[in-house]
Amino acid sequence: MKVTLKVWRQQSPNSAGRFETYPTPDLNPNMSFLEMLDVVNDDLTRQGKEPIAFAHDCREGICGTCGLSINGRPHGEGRGTATCQLYMRHFTEGQTITIEPFRAGPFPVLQDLIVDRSAFDRIMQKGGFVSVRTGSCQDANALPVAKPAAELAMDAAACIGCGACVASCKNASAMLFVSAKVSQLGLLPQGQPERHRRVLAMVAQMDREGFGNCTVTGSCEEACPKNISLAFIARMNRDYAVALLKGE
């Protein structure tokens, strides 16, 4: 199959970007979207053109590095998959596919389709951890965790920090990401001592980075490759309100 790509090209963070259109060489429909870009890049290199820069790593939906807006949707059509898990068979022969970087003020474009998501790292550094003595190993069942809490914490921990929530939200809000990171620890006994300090610090950093506010539109949940639920945002809002009253 062949498709036409309309791709955002941008030399550097400060240069102006523009769309370029490329016809692809013949593709195997069972290629992933990233493999398709590899093939296109081979072709561009052979023509002496600059290949399209895009971020990728595991290529199996677990690292959160890949992230493209495909026809205006972060990670493209389909629920619960990252860009690396999207296959060319979901497109039609001859279709024009628009590929853009994730758009948000706090995610500046570095080059072409690669954005700088270190804003997420700075939020994590403010509280996305538990402070523990890392001495000898603890007894396996010394800290009992109820099954439902463990399951819910695991659901939150499935977040791979790709930024699709920010990219899809009309307000470029990072609430789904931050709430998942707050909840994965707040649901477990190990996370309790720093629970209130954590939520205040992470939300403060989120605001400092310039992300928008949640207006509960539900786009993020739909775009999330890990199906993180909006309910975690409600949980974080409650944690935040309690932390305010406790006055940490």
């Binding site: 807006s69 706090p106 307000n171 949640c214 207006t215 509960v216 539900g218 309910a231 949980r235």
Partner: protein
């Protein structure tokens, strides 16, 4: 930092303000609707109810200033949040595609809210301040009086409502205003429970279903009054 600073300056704090003031306003509009529906019980019921609301001017003003504070804070937070959201995405997507999974109501909250505010101002001038020029009936609502059973002169709210809604364009404006309020709340109620931290895994599904139902109840409850008057309800009171 202290509680007030965090509440008024942080993103989540501002949403808490919006939700708490929204809750106050929602409780008011439901109470106001139930009160108004007494018009269907006839002149005596609604006029006595209006008399009761006015029994203490001091208390009435406390409630009015409270409502003004609620709506002021709500609008302040709405503008803050909307302005921050606009700058959070300086470069948009190609062709501005509608964001996935959003409802019309959720994308137009600021606009529906502002039109509701304009409607509320008209409504207050119409039935509370009773400005004659905007009721289009050529009669002064302030002069509509009747005697209560105890022989005390009181305002004839029943007659005022029938007279007020006998003008089709005025009734239409009320239907539009209340329609937009319901649109605002069809998303606002869900957002409110979310901001207050109640839309969790356990109660979320129920509240999500309940929000549009409550918005419809509000719409039908309020609209029934101008609609009934347009269809001839209470005509005899005008003779």
């Amino acid at each position: 930092m202290n509680l007030i600073g965090r509440l008024f300056c942080s993103s989540v704090g501002k949403k808490l303000i919006m939700a708490a003031t929204g809750l106050g306003l929602v409780l008011f509009v439901f109470g106001h609707m139930v009160g108004n529906l007494q018009v269907f019980l006839g002149p005596e019921a609604i006029n006595r109810y209006a008399e009761l609301l006015h029994f203490s001017p001091e208390l009435l003003w406390v409630v009015r200033l409270g409502m003004l504070t609620l709506i002021g804070l709500h609008i302040w937070a709405a503008f803050q949040v909307s302005a921050e959201n606009r700058v959070a995405r300086p470069v948009g997507y190609d062709g501005s595609p509608a964001p996935v999974e959003t409802t019309y109501a959720s994308r137009t909250m600021l606009m529906s809210g502002l039109i509701v505010a304009a409607f509320v101002i008209y409504h207050l001038l119409h039935y509370t301040v009773r400005v004659e020029a905007i009721n289009f009936t050529g009669r002064s609502f302030a002069d509509l009086k009747e005697l209560s059973e105890a022989g005390v002169e009181r305002h004839d709210v029943f007659k005022m409502v029938i007279l007020g809604f006998s003008k089709p364009l005025v009734s239409l404006f009320y239907v539009v205003g209340v329609g937009l309020l319901s649109l605002h709340l069809s998303h606002g109620l869900r957002a409110m429970f979310q901001s207050l931290g109640l839309l969790t895994h356990r109660c979320g599904p129920l509240i999500r279903k309940l929000a549009p139902v409550l918005a419809w109840v509000l719409f039908l409850g309020y609209v029934s009054i101008p609609l009934a008057v347009m269809l001839g309800f209470g005509k005899e009171a005008l003779n």
